[in-house]
Symmetry: C2
Subunit: 306 residues, 2 copies
Amino acid sequence: MIDKLVANIKKTNAPVVVGLDPMLSYIPASILNRAIEEYGETLEAAGEAIWVYNKGIVDATYDLIPAVKPQIAMYEQFGIPGLKAFEKTVDYCQEKGLVVIGDVKRGDIGSTSTAYAVGHLGSVQIGSKKCSGFHEDMITVNPYLGTDGIKPFVDVCKEEKKGIFVLVKTSNPSSGEFQDQKVQGRPLYEMVGEYVDQWGSDCVGECGYSAVGAVVGATYPEMGKVLRGIMPKSYILVPGYGAQGGTADSLRPYFNEDGLGAIVNSSRGIICAYKQDQYASYGEANYADASRQAVLDMIEDINRIF
Amino acid sequence: MIDKLVANIKKTNAPVVVGLDPMLSYIPASILNRAIEEYGETLEAAGEAIWVYNKGIVDATYDLIPAVKPQIAMYEQFGIPGLKAFEKTVDYCQEKGLVVIGDVKRGDIGSTSTAYAVGHLGSVQIGSKKCSGFHEDMITVNPYLGTDGIKPFVDVCKEEKKGIFVLVKTSNPSSGEFQDQKVQGRPLYEMVGEYVDQWGSDCVGECGYSAVGAVVGATYPEMGKVLRGIMPKSYILVPGYGAQGGTADSLRPYFNEDGLGAIVNSSRGIICAYKQDQYASYGEANYADASRQAVLDMIEDINRIF
């Protein structure tokens, strides 16, 4: 899957990923109201509204981008109907040729991590049939439980040709509370980065990158530079561009010399572009066109650094 | 909810929680086959089989125990139908008066953590109505992202009178890779424990314990002792008893002088008791009775330490 991600990035010349993290407050009133008319004020209405909203954005942007990153929490908050919208979104994006990175941040141990891994990236055996629960191409995972927690994901990645991004240094202000603590002479996130490099060492694709990537926030470029060196074969998924304060200039250190090695996420900045002054002229009815323009602007902004 | 948990523990005189972590391989063939006859070899069949199996165990044990801990990964692996079985299990256990601890190990930042928190412990606003996705009483959460990741859960706990257990020191062999690293002169897990104590400081219930508990594995009793002292007001959820090697003798340090402060989980040891030599005489058809006896034996074993 890392090979497909890199191929998609080369084809679109766009090292960006659109975060499909819908909040009900982002959704144009016409879409939400139509869903409520049909389903009442229910979780089903929320699920339907999210799906219609997402589809509009995907239809307007899929030819420009290599990948999307739906944040499962935004669907899970609406229970089963929300997760049905997640599933539909994942499947639709794949039909459109996009790599789907499920931002699920799962992490447990042993057979439980295996359950998450097969549930999101693989399949389960039921009687004589193999069935698949959710169907992302790659997911994000949490490293706090150590190798026992990550190894089952790596095993499934190898078997199913899928990929993971391990949280190394997150973009939020308090990420340093634990991640920046000095252990054996360097910050904990560097040690996690060393493990990431090691976990991915025997699943490097034809593109030269491994199936085990890392999440490193755009808000800490000096740390991004060090981590780039520690994990030369890991793709870095970079949240925090735009709304969270990361700028294109700060992104250079996340990329390798080949111009590859990083993919930058924007969520609100793209999917809710029509609510920003810059794109307000599109109006609510044309929210998807506003998102398209925001994607074009983001790609141009990021490609300036090369 | 911490008050209800403590009241339930006192009522049953059983500081134990049954981990409802079903694997298809645990389920008696008659139950699985009946589900497959009805739904084919599908995710729906898996969901139905899990639900029937769980219900049997809950019906046979609910009067003996204060709480259950369904591990969501074991349901999520079967996609939407699996999560429907999770939802049914949660609701059914609550009808039976049990406190339901969703072992979800979620963790993200800001509005995303809020989405998980309202999705599992609270409600979302849809039009003029409040709707609720999943309905656990308490959940487990991951601290790697720091206060930004935990605060939204604590806020929802206060508002909705729910509770969380933060992963501090997990029971698995590789938990030490990051959790045991020395930071500022003591292990990282101790620092996380200090944060847990602080996060819960202003949501202490009438029982004297806070809504912010901790997960500390039974496999590391000397660490449990230190953490007990660091977080005097936090309930400790203790995995790793039984199948993972923790013994009753090792559990004493997790409890306070009042005999409260800890709740010990057993999953496989209870729900799959009928496959153990000790309970094999019950036979597959009486798997739930085997689970009941295993619960009785566990309670007796643990109460020996007082």
